[in-house]
Amino acid sequence: MGGRHGGRSRAARREDGLAAVRERLQGYADRGVFRGFSEEPTRGGRHRFKFLWLNTTFVLSYVPVTGALFFRELLPNVSARSSIGIALRSFVKSRAGLNVPDHRRIDPRRAAVQGYVRSGAFSVVITAKKNYHGYGVHRAVNLIQEIFVQLHAYFPEYMVENFDAPQE
């Protein structure tokens, strides 16, 4: 689940964090979970990882300095006050709750999670604390699949309209 890298220089910790994120994502690619995987050129201190998974292309942005892992505009066509927007925010927030099994919970001591709607799209950010960057990316990838399961279960028409899920 990643690890702490205390007692070292900030630069070294950044490098370790990046390595942990990269290794974790590469691991999913090596296992065939991601059907395609690439690292995009760094922009403004953000490392960008692109991968094909769940029949969709995802872009994960990672900022080593802050430990933030972004899935920006993860879900298009979501307005803040819509039932789906409300449900998604609530679901993401709930993932840190004590009623979630430990192996699925986003431990607030190790990472903060937030879902938000901006410019008509739903985004997710997980911010790894204390250099738990490997843990952060692990939880982030799991969270994305949990969100997709929720959408298939409760908002099938959204998946039909936005992710080409079969209508039947």
Partner: protein, 651 residues
């Protein structure tokens, strides 16, 4: 409160009265007003009252009592092929008239034979029969039109991996390409990609040999349809003695019942993966059913305390009331760390099953060529499912996964609570009958009341309605639930499927042996009902006791996606409040029309009673409204699904 008997009597009177009222209203309203002015109304009323009752021709009873003809050389090609079908254990034939030599020859062997109204529907029936019994069924149609009517059903059977033997006549070899006469059709290219094997028979002396080709395919590996077409030169060929046939010996010589067994190293690796897992899970699918591996499955699950979830074209290999059943625990699936897929022939891509990205996969399948398709594996085991599960159960040490089993139980309770919420919400909608009410009342009647929960075989069809009924109905024994259109997603096979399931239970074939003669229940929607509704007559003439529930929301299931498309919307709509129950009555079935939530349970009870006492089909036309699919107006609206488990039907 009325007694059941009073209710039943009242219903009976209402049925008689309402039939007359219906006819009266038909002639007084709308276009009927013209007829009434012309005096036709009175004629119709009189005709209705004086109409002769619907009867089953005496020939049906005579046929049942008639001794089977003794067939021996000299034999026709059709008789030779029919003998192979009998010796290979084909358990049912579903057909329409056509391909006469072959279907008559098969019927004369004593294989239960059902004829219906549309070749496609009867091919669907054969598919469902396989999925309910685990046995091979044949289907037949005539030459070009009858054969092409079956195409959708063959494809659906192919997706469901059903061992359906598709037979069709095909003019003569001599007249090929001439368009002499009618119905000319070169068949085999049309089933390309939707069959396991196909052959147009052209050499009479090889008829028996090609039956061997067909049954080698049907009886080995992953089942799929086999398509054989019979030019007249084959069906009507005459063989005076066995020397005129090639390879005319019994099936122990032309095929084997041997099954592939797992590599011991692979078993060791699987045991190690399962031992190391904290939250292992088994996915049981088609292959467990067809290899009759449910005892081995249970032994492995209990020995290592591994939860089991089902998927596939039929359900019930693992009982839903077992503490290790994860079938109705959808939100636990993400927690699994090792997934053992057994006989999952129709393989999802990653993400279509709700297992998380860290889950590792072991796949057991008899077909090495399919292992690794769609879903990356950590270990592949090429084996017959029963052989592999037995090997694993023998090799696996006893283990406990108490925390994981508790997590599954919590998820199960949460799912049940959610379904109860939906039901209570549905009860509040009194202007029509909400799908949650239909589903809950049906489950309570069949599985939580006086009827033993494992007794009733269910055809789980429909589109939107199935997203509710799947949540409430459970399977407790192999073959209890046939999973509707499944991966092919055809709209409308359900009444055809109902014929197949009802025939399987009527004859107590295969997995239905212990439930012979009991009523079955089928669910469909109004859109799907339209495709195969005439098979109500088939159900009725064969006295198949099926209770068919039609969810009547006046629309195709696609309606809600077009709600803002004003111009295009009528494409998705029907006339409202159609009386499918009357259609059923006109075809010999018992009809109920349910318009209020409180009427659902009594209607079910009456229909079930008709099935028990008269061995007759019923149709319960349940009036819903299309707006129930709009979440903002009628929560919870149109529901999605999580696979695998009770809700799954794509895979």
């Amino acid at each position: 409160m009325k007694t059941k008997k009073q209710t039943s009597k009242r219903a009976s009177r209402d049925t008689v009265a309402s039939r007359r009222d219906f006819m009266r209203q038909a002639v007084l309203g709308g276009a009927g007003a013209t007829a009434a002015a012309l005096g036709t109304g009175a004629t119709i009323r009189a005709a209705e009252e004086d109409a002769k009752p619907i009867t089953i021709p005496s020939e049906f009873e005579s046929a049942k009592r008639a001794p089977l003809p003794s067939v021996d050389f000299p034999m026709s090609g059709a008789q030779v092929f029919a003998r192979a079908c009998k010796e290979e254990g084909v358990k049912g034939l579903f057909c329409c008239p056509g391909n006469y030599d072959v279907i008559h020859a098969i019927a004369n062997t004593g294989i239960p034979t059902y004829s219906g109204r549309h070749e496609g529907s009867l091919c669907h029936a054969a598919d469902a029969f396989c999925r309910a019994t685990g046995e091979i069924a044949a289907t037949s149609g005539t030459e070009g039109p009858g054969f092409t009517d079956m195409i959708c059903a063959i494809s659906a059977a192919n997706s469901a991996r059903s061992p359906v033997l598709v037979l069709a006549s095909n003019k003569t070899i001599f007249s090929e390409d001439t368009e002499q006469g009618i119905q000319d059709q070169y068949q085999q290219p049309l089933t390309e990609g939707i069959k396991k094997y196909g052959k147009r028979l052209i050499t009479p002396s090889r008829t028996w040999e090609y039956a061997g080709y067909a049954f080698r395919q049907l009886r080995s590996g992953v089942p799929k349809p086999v398509h054989i077409d019979f030019p007249a030169e084959i069906a009507r060929a005459r063989f005076d003695d066995p020397t005129e046939l090639e390879f005319f010996y019994d099936n122990t010589k032309y095929r084997t019942d041997a099954k592939p067994h797992p590599d011991p190293k692979a078993v060791d690796q699987a045991v190690q993966m399962l031992r190391d897992a904290e939250r292992p899970i088994i996915v049981s699918s088609n292959g467990v059913f067809y290899s009759k591996a449910w005892d081995a499955l249970k032994r492995l699950a209990e020995r290592a305390q591994i939860p089991v979830v089902e998927s596939g074209a039929m359900k019930g290999q693992f009982p839903a009331d077992h503490e290790l059943s994860a079938d109705a625990a959808p939100m636990a699936l993400m927690s699994a760390d090792v997934v053992l897929l057994v006989g999952q022939y129709c393989m999802p891509t990653l993400g279509e099953f709700a297992f998380g990205p860290d889950a590792r996969y072991i796949r057991i399948d008899p077909d090495a060529e399919d292992i690794g398709r769609n879903l990356p594996i950590d270990l592949g085991i090429v084996s017959d499912e029963r052989a592999a599960l037995e090997a694993l159960a023998d090799a696996m040490p006893r283990q406990r996964h108490d925390a994981w089993v508790r997590e599954v139980a919590v998820a199960r309770q949460a799912f049940d609570a959610e379904n109860e919420d939906y039901y209570q919400t549905g009860l509040g909608y009194t202007e029509a009958v909400h799908p949650a009410v239909i589903a809950k009342e049906l489950a309570d009647f069949l599985q939580n009341g006086n009827i033993p929960q494992d007794r009733t075989t269910i055809l789980q069809g429909g589109y939107g309605i199935a997203r509710y009924t799947r949540r409430y109905l459970r399977s407790f024994r192999p073959g209890q639930i046939v999973n509707g259109a499944y991966q092919y997603g055809a709209i409308g096979p359900d009444v055809g499927y109902t014929v197949g399931v009802a025939a399987a239970v009527q004859n107590g074939i295969g997995a239905q042996a212990d439930f012979k003669g009991h009523p079955i229940v089928a669910v469909t929607g109004d859109a799907g009902f339209g495709y195969t509704a005439m098979e109500l007559e088939t159900l009725s003439k064969y006295r198949l006791p099926a209770v068919l529930i039609v969810y009547n929301n006046n629309a195709w299931g696609t309606w809600s996606g077009q709600v803002n498309n004003t111009v295009g919307l009528p494409v998705h709509l029907f006339q409202e409040n159609l009386r499918y129950d009357k259609l059923g009555e006109a075809l010999g079935a018992y009809g109920e029309y349910v318009t209020q939530p409180s009427e659902m349970r009594p209607a079910l009870e009456r229909a079930y009673q008709v099935a028990l006492e008269e061995s007759r089909p019923s149709i319960i036309n349940v009036q819903a409204k299309k707006e129930f699919w709009l979440r903002d107006q009628y929560p919870p609206g149109f529901l999605g699904k999580v696979e695998p488990g009770v809700m799954s039907y794509y895979h």
